[in-house]
Amino acid sequence: MNYDSAAATGTLSQPKAKLRAKKERQALPVRLAKLKPYLYLLPVMLSIAYWIYRPLIQTFRLSFYEWNLLPTSAEKYVGMKNFRNIVTLPEMGTALLNTLIYTVGVIPFALIIPIAIAIMTDNIGKRSKNMYRALIFLPMIMAPVAVSSVWRWIMHPTNGILNQTLQSWFGLAEPIRFFSDAKWAIWSITFITGWKLIGFSTLIFSAAMTGINREYYEAAKIDRASRWQIVRHITLPLLSPTILFMTMLSTLFASEWSFSYVNVLTQGGPLGSTTNIYYLLWKYGFQTFSVGWSSAAAVLIFIGFGIIALGFMKLTRKLSFFDD
């Protein structure tokens, strides 16, 4: 890095004078050249404008209308009615509560267990480390549908290996109906979401651990700090940017990640017990075709998660002095 900037300033001074002379001679080509960066950016700009920002604005607009997705039917302006309706729906309350459960439920898998494992297994031999990395990362690259299919088989009430094992080890009287029992379903989905994430998080924290300067540990050991004191006063504070990053990711995306498992495994049931806010959007949009409701809920989600994200970004900036 240092060497480029030094080299660049060295070579820049000379051509700059030439460039100025050129600029006066060829006004038009220079003006065209000014457009160049925009031309290179054109595909990206057009695509995100058309496929992300346009629909975002349309969702805001549709949240004030009543419409059933049929091209032949007219959109009817209803003002704030959609918002009033959805916030008073009991379904909405359940979905929000479930969203909170997914978000909190994923924290052990995204943060607590990975941090503990990363700290415990720091300093392991390089060879075995690479092997473990390759194994524990595997769930991350699996497709959510494939993951759902496999877990549905493993967690099948009567024929699944999990219930068979639990029954033979603990002598359960009845098999656990992981996906059709309203008490269990949301935890099963949370577990699968977490299962996919846990190896990835562990690797993120291990990578952050290797970035910590060993001298701090040596100094602490000379001061006769206990293992826990070292973790509490050195490791965790130095990991805090990574902890914050993973907390942000899991807070913002836990429900989005669980969406595919909900859709494939439970369709929001039993009795709405696994429906989270994203699944509710989906249901309103493509099952009951109440586009207005779906859009109004989408607007609320977008604003809600946007505020959370901004909060996290502020916190990150505040905490960034820990990066050394």
């Binding site: 160049k36 990206v44 975002l56 969702t59 997705l69 549908v145 494939a146 088989w153």
Partner: protein, 278 residues
Amino acid sequence: MHLTSARRNKLSASTISKHAVLVALSFLAIFPLYWMIVTSLKSEGEIFNASLLPHHWTFDHYKMAWDSIPMARMLGNSIGVSLLQTICQVVTSILAAYAFTRWDFRGSSLIYGLIGLTWLVPFQVIMIPNYVVISNFGWRDTLTGLIVPNIVSAFAVMQLYNAFKSFPKALIEAARLDGASDWSILWRTVFPNLKASIASIGILLFITSWNDYFWPLLVTTKMEHSTIQKGLQMFMSSEMNLWGPLMAATTIASLPVLILYLLLQRQIIDSFVKGGLR
């Protein structure tokens, strides 16, 4: 003497516990995959017993899965969509990353910010308007409809921007003094040197697009026009209890990504860990 041996014992105990934890985590991670493959190879009579290896190895389930859904067609669709989408995403993000790092221009940070902010827009928030557009274009049940909305990846732009930023400016300047145009500087100077990082981002994009399920779920209705993920889900909901063929179909759907992972796990892990989730 006494002290060192005590210490060594302690050390090995902690090493053992480290390995125990990691073995447990590895087991949790790979057992479902193992179980998927083993189930798919067991004979019909054995599926319901919990033996860890099949007694009679059979490919019958694969044959059945292959025959009962248009597997070849869906695999072809998935390969086509994932490849084309990845190529488009890589090319568009190379152009964008080059623009951001090569020139200082008005609005560059605003544009970069707008690209970066897209990760705050969940798919479910924008799905209805996009679905309406695709329907109006008559692109439902077409590969075009699957690919076109995804030709740009904000994640790829940001990742490549970081890679391009670290490219020595002096080399670009040298090429420019040799009379190379900006276009040829990009493809003859910058691109060949950054091939490795571009390739690893490309692999990540391919995996993401292979695994994608939401968009095909919306845009396609028939298996013949769909990707393998959507097909697998349809197979799952129609054949509730054919566990053998279902696990065979699941294995087939996962195979390309698993093979890629087997060959390139180091790069794949690194690019995921570096890039976070999106």
